[in-house]
Amino acid sequence: MLEMIDITKTYRIGTVETPVLRGVSFRVERGEFVAIMGASGTGKTTLMNILGCLDVPTSGRYLLDGADVFHNNDDTISSIRNQKIGFVFQQFHLLDRASALDNVLLPLIYADRYPGDANMRGVASLQAVGLGGRVDYRPAQLSGGQQQRVAIARALVTNPALILADEPTGNLDRRSGLEVISILQRLNGEGRTVVLITHDQNLAEHADRILVLRDGRIFEDSKLEFPLNAEQELVALAGGAQ
């Protein structure tokens, strides 16, 4: 589904070259839930930017859903982002004056063709994250967890090949975070490919495969037999509260 082949990224400030990625190669199959882990400074963010087609590697190839991403001009790469990637950011990045629905519809504005059933699709996306009743709410009227769920709905609305979540629970309390992860797990269960970028071991263990990044290389690639189940943790959390 996606493949990175010997990706390197070197930042250059003046004459000083700082290699951040030193040859990263891995594949992610359709329907996988992969966590990419790494402490800060390991090139995690850079890798995530390249995975999201937001930044260009210094060398290497990136195949995403059949497209050789970086053999294209900026406009085409923008289209690839639009069609194939659903972003979930740590800071949500919602437009604060727009309704939940308008936020969700934002990627469709940049689609090659604005779908005639856009509104229905937007509402369906919001329903998929449990916010069918909050269509007209502004971000400020929603809790942090709900805002992140709006962002997930926005990521879903274009029906992308890949959902790319960058520390999606970083700004949330444990309960809201688990809700977000449980949604990602459910979407993965429905066959969607999810890549989760995090520094948090516990969070990463909700994925069924963990890639550990260290010093700009894949240091470890391991499959989890029994990933954590956020749904059950939520039930346990509710039980503990009683």
Partner: protein, 402 residues
Amino acid sequence: MRTWRLIRQSMIALGRNKTRSFLVMLGVIVGISALTVVVSMAKGANRKVMQRVNNFGPTAIMLFAGGGKNLPGPDPTVATLTFDDAKAVESQIRGVKSICPQVIRPRVPANYRDRSYEVTVIGAATSWQDAWDWYVSDGEFYDEQDYSNMARVAVIGQTVVRELFQGANPIGETIRIANANFKVKGVLPAKGTSAAGTDMDERVIIPLTTAMRRTFNVSTFTMVRVRVAAVGDVQRVASEIRALIRERHHIRPPDLDDFRVVTPDIIAGLSQMVASTLNRVLLAVTVLSLIVGGIVLMNLMLLSVTERRHEIGLRRALGGKRRDVLLQFLFESVTLTSGGGLLGLVLGVPVALLVGKLTAKTTELSWEPVALALGLSLVVGFVFGLLPARRAAGLHPVEALR
């Protein structure tokens, strides 16, 4: 649908900073309203010039007694323009269709019963109507017999009718001018403002013979009105008249003319000069405030780009192309300035009307200032919005999202 959503989002973005949006528009509002006033004044002035030239007569030349530079008021104290001068003009210059010598006396008291009013008395040949293209609308003009009899008859203008007769029928009534009784034979239709800016309807026309021998006792003319056959002849005939009269009056360089030759061109130039000085000042105000408005717009849009970096990054991440971001910011700039343009019109039109009411300046509203205002405000929005929009579009998505 897509466009509508983008527009709505732009409006939301503009609505977020209402004060700032208003500040941006302010310069444009001032500029465009000034422009509206300027254009309507210019149009009004232009129409006034045309009207003055028409009142003067496009094929007319006036030869005034007395030198000087400015457009002369008739000067009754100068006694240099003689009957022979007029005769020479008529007989020696090719292209002269007709001449009409006149004796003019301004501010002569006229009375009717207990009412009195100061009028301009003009003693003129019977050709006066043709010379002025101005024909009586009521009653009749004095005829050759009145002329040779030096009859005390008069043809009066509308202001005189209003002031002395208060709308009553003056035909056949007797008015008193310079201590003599004159019978009103005819009434002239309203004409308005003369080339010199005076009321043309406060005139009383009497036979030249009566004026010269009986009323004012003079032997020279105040003015000779010359008609030429075609507009194209005016300049040539005017300079030939000047040469002829200089010769007849024995004027040699460096002595100055003791007469003035006035042509429609001079009338037009004089009126335009007055109008254009004012217009140039106002036009400078317009351009300046549009530029100021543009610079304010540019700075506030640049500020907005900085503030909305995350939004720009987000839009890029979600698939927005550079062009999409560029167009969105350009659209916002153009929306602000054209909004300012519209408000400027809303403000400028009543001001233009008010200026027309409160001052003697004529203003004329038409579609041109509207089109010009909207066009200019679009251009300002586009030109000054381009740099911020390009900066927004050039942001790297990763940097913008950080």
